[in-house]
Amino acid sequence: MKARVTVTLKTGVLDPQGKAIEGALRSLGIAGIAGVRQGKFFEVDVEGSDKAAAEATVKAACDRLLANTVVENYRVEIAG
């Protein structure tokens, strides 16, 4: 089954890349954007069909490698 993992910087952690993207959007003339934060997205193929087990596996993957929880939060969605 597929898991979708979104990793984002915690609130208050400086995001120079997000700021650069925000500036680039402004220079493109795209109005109405108040801020940009850059994150990461992972599509993970999990073996088996047990949703709870899949979620536990992916959360372990996040805690141990996919996210650095000093500065990042993560969100896991199991897509049936």
Binding site: R64, L65, N68, V71
Partner: protein
């Protein structure tokens, strides 16, 4: 002094740091990242600079979980010395051996220049050849050297005297312009609680010969060579 330099795919300063260590009188062995043990009698494990695993995921993230790092962790737990330079510092933070994280430079640029550093204390295995608050001339070369830790961790690092080096101007002043990557408290390097693990972004191994511009990096390797 027996040193072991750990080499990851993408390490590129392993030869320079090995040379600086040999110049100071250390015996140097090389350990591949898939090795599960350090050579018997290793006093110092070194994580060199470079771009391990192409900086994929996060700088140092994948190397920090390599087999050889289990051996480095065990070595550190026994009180063995560990030195991480540049990517090595990133690996130490990612592996949990040092607190905090190295973020993208605040100016979003790869910075590569000479950099004065203030040696915070001269009573550790890494710095005894220097004087406390001595300003040394070294080099930096990194895109992700912006040291960050949460407020509680930062207060502990400062309170326990675990800052090893700070970015400063030539006179030792801690100015905003001297701290080009935006590190909290101008931190360029930190120690573990026992001061036996050191991570720093600048490259002392670059400046061990007059012919390449300076020798202020020698003090670190000279300190280590007499540490064991």
């Amino acid at each position: 002094m027996k040193a072991a330099v750990i080499v990851f795919p993408g390490s590129n300063r392993d030869g320079d740091v090995a040379r600086a260590l040999r110049q100071a009188g250390a015996q140097v062995a090389t350990v591949w990242h898939t090795d599960t043990a350090l050579p018997a009698g290793t006093d110092l494990a070194v994580l060199p600079g470079g771009f391990s695993y192409g900086d994929y995921l996060r700088c140092g993230a994948i190397a920090g979980r390599a087999h050889a790092m289990d051996a480095v962790r065990a070595h550190a737990a026994r009180g063995g010395l560990v030195l991480g330079i540049c990517n090595g510092f990133q690996i130490l933070c990612e592996s949990g051996l040092l607190p905090g994280v190295l973020m993208r430079n605040v100016n979003r640029r790869f910075i590569c220049h000479r950099q004065p550093l203030r040696v915070e204390r001269a009573d550790t295995a890494f710095t005894r050849a220097y004087a406390a608050h001595q300003v040394i001339d070294v080099c930096v070369a990194h895109g992700e050297g912006n040291y960050f830790a949460d407020a509680e961790t930062l207060a502990r690092i400062e309170g326990d005297g675990l800052v090893a080096f700070r970015y400063c101007d030539a006179a030792g002043g801690l100015t905003e312009t001297a701290n080009r990557n935006g590190s909290l408290n101008a931190i360029a390097g930190i120690y573990s609680a026992s001061r036996t693990v050191l991570g720093l972004m600048p490259h002392p191994e670059n400046f061990v010969e007059d012919v390449v511009g300076g020798t202020d990096g020698r003090g670190l390797f000279a300190s280590l060579a007499t540490a064991a």
